[in-house]
């Protein structure tokens, strides 16, 4: 698809050598930690607002020339899978809408490629309703991953029973609880498209779901996939509101506002505990990564959030 010319090759090597240096540093760091058998590592990879950007942006794009592309991301993820044992690959919604791929094929290829990359789960963004809930059902067979949302009530729709409020992923013995929240659809999406999907308070639903994941299902770490938006000037509920008012959520992977956060933002929750909020822009221009080290004994250590561009 893309010519692998000399210029590209040089950049590619520079990039990879740079990456390798960084990663070897990373590996030493992780080796020290992982030598202790009681320490386990989880690698969370994530995207948001992919917006049907199957191909990279063209070379003459005003903002993101040659950036993004599903096939490049697929190669990267394949590479990371060779290096890491416990990977969770997540998305925060708005997979659909933005290029003719969606107008002509209605999201089929997006779902197929995400399934091939081994995505574990996504949540629903407002644009995922752009061809109606019937289209979500039509594309359903192509999606080999879970759809997670706890604040939309689907009981009066064809999606009833298909979208789960939460899911527990067991990776290397660790129980990772994932929940999802979506934005208010009224005034944003046409009623005829979302039909009888009912919106409930994302804060209430997220808190009760996270509590269930922690207390009843015994999750070690809780991730919220959110399509609420990073933050707003008015009092509209956002990821910042969610993080500051939640109790059991450890990480919010957000979307909707297409916010490029170079590193996750740390917010104190209602109990004073730090919650990470992250988002990687849109269009698959970036793939986010968070490595979490878990200790098997109950010795509490300080949670640090560092960030670097790989």
């Amino acid at each position: 698809m893309e010519e692998f010319n000399f210029q590209n090759r040089r950049d590619f090597l520079k990039y990879f050598v740079g990456g390798a240096v960084m990663l070897s540093g990373f590996n030493t760091y992780s080796k020290i930690l992982l030598n202790d058998k009681k320490i386990k590592k989880l690698t969370i990879l994530y995207t948001n607002d992919q917006h049907s950007r199957i191909d990279p942006f063209p070379a003459n794009d005003t903002k993101y020339p040659n950036q993004g592309g599903f096939a490049k991301r697929a190669a990267l993820i394949k590479q990371i899978r060779k290096e890491e044992e416990n990977i969770l690959l997540l998305d925060a919604g708005d997979i659909f809408q933005g290029t003719p791929y969606f107008n002509y094929y209605h999201g089929e290829l997006e779902y197929k490629l995400m399934s091939q990359m081994g995505y574990d789960a996504t949540t629903l963004g407002n644009h995922d309703f752009d061809m109606g809930i019937d289209n979500l059902i039509t594309q359903w067979p192509h999606a080999g991953f879970s759809f997670i949302n706890c604040n939309y009530n689907f009981s009066d729709t064809v999606l009833n029973g298909k979208i789960v409020p939460h899911k527990v992923f067991t990776k290397g013995g660790m129980k990772i609880g994932v929940l999802g929240v979506g934005i208010e659809l009224e005034g944003l999406v046409e009623k005829k498209l979302y039909g009888n999907v009912k919106y409930n308070s994302p804060l209430d639903c997220a808190n009760s779901t996270a509590q269930h994941l922690k207390n009843n299902l015994g999750c070690d770490y809780i991730i919220c996939l959110s399509h609420l938006g990073y933050k707003y000037e008015n009092n509209k509920v956002s990821d910042i509101t969610l993080a500051s008012q939640c109790k059991n959520i450890d990480l919010v992977i957000g979307g909707h506002t297409h916010t490029f956060l170079d590193e996750p933002v740390s917010i104190a929750n209602s109990l004073g505990k730090q919650v990470l909020v992250t988002q990687v822009g849109w269009a698959g221009i970036r793939l986010g990564r968070i490595d979490i080290y878990f200790s098997e004994n109950n010795k509490k250590m300080k949670i640090e959030a560092g960030s670097e561009k790989i």
Binding site: K191, Y221, E263, D291
Partner: protein, 247 residues
Amino acid sequence: MIKLLKYFLFPLLLLSACTRHFIPTQSKASYYEIKQFKSDSIANLRISPYKSSLDKEMNTVIAISDSALTKDGYECTLGNFLLQAVEHYINNKSDFTNKCVFIFNRGGLRNNLPSGEITKQNIFELMPFENEIVILTIKGEKLQECINAICTDGKLISFNLSFTIKDKSPKEIKVFGEDFDASKNYYVVTSDYHANGGDNCTFFANPIKSEITNIKLRDALLLYCNYLTKNKTHISPFTNGRIQFSK
């Protein structure tokens, strides 16, 4: 004995279920820029039949632009291009000769247009939505609400309206160059998305009249590009200062 076991085991099981086996101790965050990677060949194989059939149609150059169009600024070049295209369609609609106000949203413009050759793909990415043009007849007071909304958050873009924004409120409103009259009715050209309340356009609810044109915004853009090219004209981005700010 069994009773005793039950009594002792039950709380124990409960306790173990509640205990966190793994405690998160450290996290390290980073991101990859998806730029100079080699593509995955299997993914490429999967994409290729879809891509080749789309490319045939989408790579057609349909217009030339003198410079790039963006949605930066209160009155933006990209928004003005959309408004020109829709106005062109409305002006050529033989059964409609009234003067209209045009209202669309900035958020609906999904990608910038580059300088130079504009392909069909560019127009699809600018306007991927399937929304159609509607012509509403609304009361002046409703148009006032709409103009207020434009001044409050800058989400909506307009054409044939000029005003000065002071403290997020409109002053000296003119419609087609004439003083705005709240007691009059006005024709508003917008999309069915807004007419149905999208972007909280509540002022478009229950209009005096609503005419559905059955033409998509994207098709109006494509038709306008064809018209320009046929007449050997380029897209020439402009802003005309119809919205002013006052302190």
